[in-house]
């Protein structure tokens, strides 16, 4: 694939574009991470994407390699083999599996559109299964803490325009959300902040990450001790005396100094990642972080935003909420939505071996789940809808290839702060590949037909 590079701020001339059958789509929203940068310019030559401007390394990798390792044909398992079949046959087989099962689990949903998520929930209700999204294994604990204490937050533009203090806690945006710091926080120019010089950066992490290296203050917390450190910070804020020399490996003097910085800022923003949700304490860590931010509002303006990973994982929570009242781990086995993380969440359902079939959409649990959960998943009929070959697709009984949201089909997605954005279609999908939305619609119709409705 030929890549064309232009100097910063320049593109091809009108003449050049006409000559080479070149098209540039502007304002494209990137379907990679929760930053949902919407300023990409995608260069298309003869129906193929040849360059992406403004995107980060992930974004480039995505747009320039999206055609690799694609699933192109619907397949069903015949013995050891996956055999290519017609879409109708694959849809029928998938519907049959769902209709025959007593308690299917429908999982994934974070790398697809809200439109597909809506239909996924409808399907789960129809077949009385459990439906869960990947927030179950990323910011599920954040939700659980929010449900206990609330969550003082804002959109990213508030941070860009106002924040003079930024904290990344258990988050390493220079590896995970590459443009987060330049677009929204430290480096961004806002109405009342000129950029890096007007902002203080504090990083709290177990490792001295790349992000930590550019921080004004780096606080190295011992693994699994975030809760202790957050609590010590809250104590320091209240001028309570801390008896120990060090908390979570951090000298008390440093904690007190940081507490003063937090109290003294004009607008502070805490961005937190999986370093808090996946470590010991999980939702309790987030409880402590919310309490800290809430306390800080006595002295100053302070907000927090979770660093959401998949481009539409925030949307998965949002769509689940308006349709079922709950953000993830929703069980329809009684005919109405029930929610009990730790019971109705996918890892728990699988590791207790409760489900008897599964539908995976735009996710690769075989690569990402703990082993016992994977074993349980593979014991039962497995349907996969995905654009790419994945470890999960390789093991599936029915595979239906889909188009990529934001590249080959349109849809809606939600940024990490809840701002909704439209995802554009910039090129055609491979022949025969439908959107997740369309595929789910067909499965739903087929399920209803089989059930005689």
């Amino acid at each position: 694939m030929e890549e064309r590079r232009y100097p910063e701020g320049q593109g091809p001339s009108q003449e050049e574009m006409r000559r080479s059958n070149l098209e540039i789509v502007t304002g494209v929203t990137c379907p990679f991470c929760g930053c949902l940068c919407d300023d990409l310019e995608v260069v298309i030559e003869g129906g193929r994407i040849t360059n992406v401007k403004n995107g980060c390394a992930y974004s480039l990798a995505k747009y320039l390699n999206y055609q690799r390792e694609r699933l192109l044909k619907p397949m069903v398992r015949e013995g050891e083999e996956l055999v290519a079949v017609s879409l109708e046959e694959a849809v029928e087989r998938a519907a049959q599996i769902l209709v025959d099962s007593i308690y299917p689990v429908l999982y994934g949903w974070s790398s697809t559109s809200s439109e597909a998520q809506r239909l996924g929930i409808e399907l789960a209700e129809e077949v009385r299964g459990a439906i869960d999204n990947t927030s179950s294994v990323c910011h599920g604990p954040t939700v659980e803490a929010l449900q206990e204490l609330g969550h003082p937050g804002c959109t990213l533009g508030q941070v860009r325009n106002r924040a003079d203090l930024i904290i990344y806690w258990g988050s390493n945006p220079l590896q995970s959300h590459l443009r987060h710091m330049s677009r929204y926080t430290i480096g961004a120019v806002g109405r009342w902040r000129r950029g890096r010089e007007d902002r203080t950066l504090i990083v709290v992490d177990v490792r001295k990450t790349y992000t930590a290296r550019v921080a004004d203050y780096f606080i190295q917390v011992e693994p699994n001790k975030d809760f202790e450190l957050l609590t010590a910070l809250r104590m320091a804020l209240m001028y309570e005396e801390i008896e120990q020399e060090r908390v979570a490996g951090v000298p008390v003097e440093a904690i007190e100094e940081v507490a003063e910085i937090l109290r003294g800022c004009e607008f502070g923003a805490l961005f937190y990642g999986l370093g808090l949700t996946m470590s010991s304490g999980k939702n309790r860590n987030i409880d402590a972080a919310i309490s800290l931010v809430r306390d800080l509002n006595r002295w100053t303006k302070f907000v927090m935003i979770p660093m959401r990973g998949h481009f539409n994982v925030a949307g998965a929570n949002i769509v689940f909420l308006w349709q079922t009242g709950y953000p993830f781990a929703v069980d329809f086995s009684h005919g109405y939505p029930r929610y009990n993380p730790g019971v109705t969440s996918v890892i728990d359902i699988l590791s207790r071996r409760e489900s008897d079939a599964s539908l995976i959409v735009a996710s690769d649990p075989v690569a990402n789940f703990p082993r016992r959960a994977v074993e349980s998943l593979l014991e039962n009929p497995l349907i996969v809808i995905d654009p790419h070959r994945t470890a999960t697709a390789e093991r599936a009984d029915v595979v239906i290839p889909s188009a990529l949201v934001g590249i080959e089909c349109k849809g809606t997605a939600y940024r990490m702060d809840g701002v909704p954005l439209k995802m554009k279609k910039v090129v055609d999908p491979p022949p025969g590949c439908l959107s997740d939305e369309e595929i789910l619609h067909r499965i739903l119709e087929e399920v209803r037909r089989l059930r005689g409705e």
Binding site: T26, G27, T29, D38, D39, S114, R118, E122, E125, V143, L146, Q147, E148, L149, G150, H151, P152, G153, C154, T155, L156, G157, Q158, R160, N161, R162, R183, Y184, R191, W192, E266, F267, R294, N297, T300, K301, F302, V303, N317, I318, V319, L321, W322, Q323, T324, G325, Y326, P327, H334, G335, Y336, P337, R338, Y339, T412, G418, V419, P420, L421, K422
Partner: protein, 568 residues
């Protein structure tokens, strides 16, 4: 499809019909004057009253803050859950029901049109996604404009023309229906953790006052000739003594009246009708506000009645919600939106025995009973702030029956009861007046000409309740009337039977109204060029990605307006 409703006792205030026994004819979703009676489906409405489908002018049913409320409160959803059925989806929720439940419950009560009164423009795509998933109801949403940077900057420069043109652009961009101001200016200052109390404090960095914003947007509204007046959640909401701010707000646009149409609508006035100087001395300012409303024609209001129950408060008034969080100790969500607005959510339980809550309860009813002309008010609870809409029939009973009020007052906080004049108010609404405050008045204030009545050409949105006025006295039999109002015998939406005996039997897709306001081309170009220049300095998304395409709305219905004269 044709429908013949026989022998209903009809209350249709817009057409002056007060309890007449008559037939209602429906064809193709409209009220008509003749049908083919041989082919029509017939509903025998003997023993029933008929009203136009209910119209709710102010109810938070969809969008980011409602959904955050759902997230915050799994405990709320445990109060009520419902299985799906042949035509229905399942759902949960009491004060913040899921979208499907919202549609079904409103329809069960005979309501067919509901306004979502606060949506951050930047996030309105989300609001429309939820409205798309709210079945049966016709709906619309009001973009929040009270702390909008473009608006404040135009008004600071005194450029009303551009301000109005920007508003027209915004309504088209986000497919909104009316302007909503929430504590103007105060939500911007909350971006720095502070709030404003009155309407004459200067907003830092923007160098104008809330008064300037209110007047400016009221004039812009008149200039654009929008169907509805500006809807304002007044400054200092929730604070003792705030009735003065409300009076000031109404006074400051007295000269901007536009004939017989109101120029300002005060939302959930109960929350802004507090006299006294602190919580202990809190008393009702309802009488004084009612007196003002009685003497002026440029203002309308909805109640924001409090109901004793556990509910979820949510508003764009971020500073107030932070205060409520500190007052109540309850969990707190805050969500500020760049260059536009903010929001907060706090669960709250209104208790009869609590002095403040009891006073709040009396204020809404005192106001409703002292405003002489029911065309100036609408029944709301500011759902879910004063209480869930599911409880409207309780409010209706209080309006219809002094006995119902006295029954509720028996267990009320004694001091509040002593200090309130409510016990002395003997007025009882007639069913005709009830039809005004739940149908005709909101439809008229909203400028929805096909709603709120049953005249020829109106949308065939009809509710039938099993109440026989010749046998039932709402004053005495308020419990029976309340039961009937909770579950309509029939709800008909655009000619389709959607509810029968309180059960949802048909699910239709409602429309979403939005306003396209015509503006002169020249100024429109200038505003677009301002937007191109500054939008991306203010926002974290591209200007081209801000507008919502009409196709995004499942069933859009545009209302076009044009200025009577473009004179600034």
């Amino acid at each position: 499809m044709e429908l013949l409703i026989r022998n209903a006792v009809v209350y249709d205030p817009i057409n002056g019909i007060d309890g007449e026994r008559m037939d209602i004819l429906v064809r193709d979703g409209k009220i008509v004057d003749s049908i083919n009676e041989m082919q029509a489906k017939v509903i025998d409405a003997s023993g029933m009253i008929a009203m136009p489908g209910g119209v709710d002018i102010h109810s938070h049913i969809a969008g980011p803050k409602v959904n955050k409320g759902r997230e915050l409160r799994p405990e709320d959803h445990l109060r009520y859950a419902e299985r799906g059925g042949r035509v229905r989806r399942s759902g949960v929720g009491y004060s913040i029901p899921t979208t499907f439940m919202t549609g079904y419950w409103y329809a069960r009560m005979g309501y067919t049109t509901v306004m979502e009164p606060a949506t951050a423009p930047l996030e309105t795509r989300h609001t429309h996604e939820e409205l798309n998933d709210t079945p049966i109801l016709d709906k619309a949403c009001f973009p929040l404009v009270g702390s909008n940077w473009f608006i404040m900057e135009y008004l600071r420069r005194g450029d009303l023309e551009k301000c109005a043109t920007y508003v027209a652009w915004l309504l088209r961009a986000v497919k909104g229906y009316a302007m909503k101001l929430v504590a103007p200016g105060s939500v911007e200052t909350w971006g720095w953790g502070r709030g404003l109390m009155g309407i004459d404090e200067v907003i830092p960095h923007f160098e104008i006052t809330p008064r300037d914003i209110i007047r400016g947007l009221c004039r812009a509204n008149n200039l654009l000739n929008l169907p509805s007046p500006i809807h304002i959640h007044c400054n200092a909401l929730g604070a003792p003594g705030n009735f003065r701010v409300t009076l000031e707000t109404m006074r400051c646009v007295e000269d901007l009246s536009r004939g017989d149409r109101p120029s300002i609508h005060i939302v959930h006035i109960q929350f802004n009708a507090y006299a006294g100087s602190d919580w202990a001395s809190l008393s009702s300012g309802a009488t004084r506000l009612a007196r003002y409303v009685n003497r002026h024609s440029h203002v309308t209001a909805d109640l924001g009645q409090v109901i004793f129950t556990d509910t979820t408060t949510m508003t764009a008034d971020g500073p107030w919600q932070y205060r409520l969080h500190n007052l109540s100790g309850n969990k707190w969500i805050n969500h500020d939106v760049e260059a536009e607005t903010g929001g907060g959510i706090v669960p709250y339980h209104y208790r009869r025995r609590n002095y403040v809550n009891a006073i709040q309860w009396t204020i809404g009813l005192e106001f409703a009973l002292q405003v002489k002309d029911p065309w100036k008010i609408c029944l709301t609870t500011d759902h879910p702030n004063g209480g869930p809409f599911i409880e409207y029939p309780r409010v209706m009973a209080w309006l219809l029956s002094r006995r119902a009020r006295l029954a509720s007052m028996r267990r009320l906080n004694k001091t509040a009861r002593r200090r309130s004049i409510l016990e002395s108010l003997e007025r009882e609404y007639s069913l005709y007046e009830l039809a005004i405050v739940t149908r005709a008045s909101p439809a008229r204030i909203l400028g929805l000409r096909e709603k709120g009545h049953l005249g020829i050409g109106a949308d065939a949105d009809i509710s039938l309740y099993r109440i026989d006025p010749s046998e039932v006295d709402p004053s005495r039999d308020f419990r029976a009337v309340r039961r009937s109002l909770r579950r309509a015998a029939y709800t008909i939406k655009e000619g389709e039977i959607v509810v029968k005996e309180g059960e949802v039997v048909g699910v239709t897709e409602g429309r979403t109204f939005w306003v396209e306001a015509e503006v002169p081309e020249g100024v429109s170009k200038e505003v677009l060029s301002d937007l191109k220049e500054r939008f991306e300095d203010y926002y974290t998304i591209r200007l081209e990605n801000y507008p919502i395409e009409e196709g995004y709305l499942r069933r859009p219905s545009v209302r076009r307006t044009r200025p009577e004269a473009w004179v600034v």
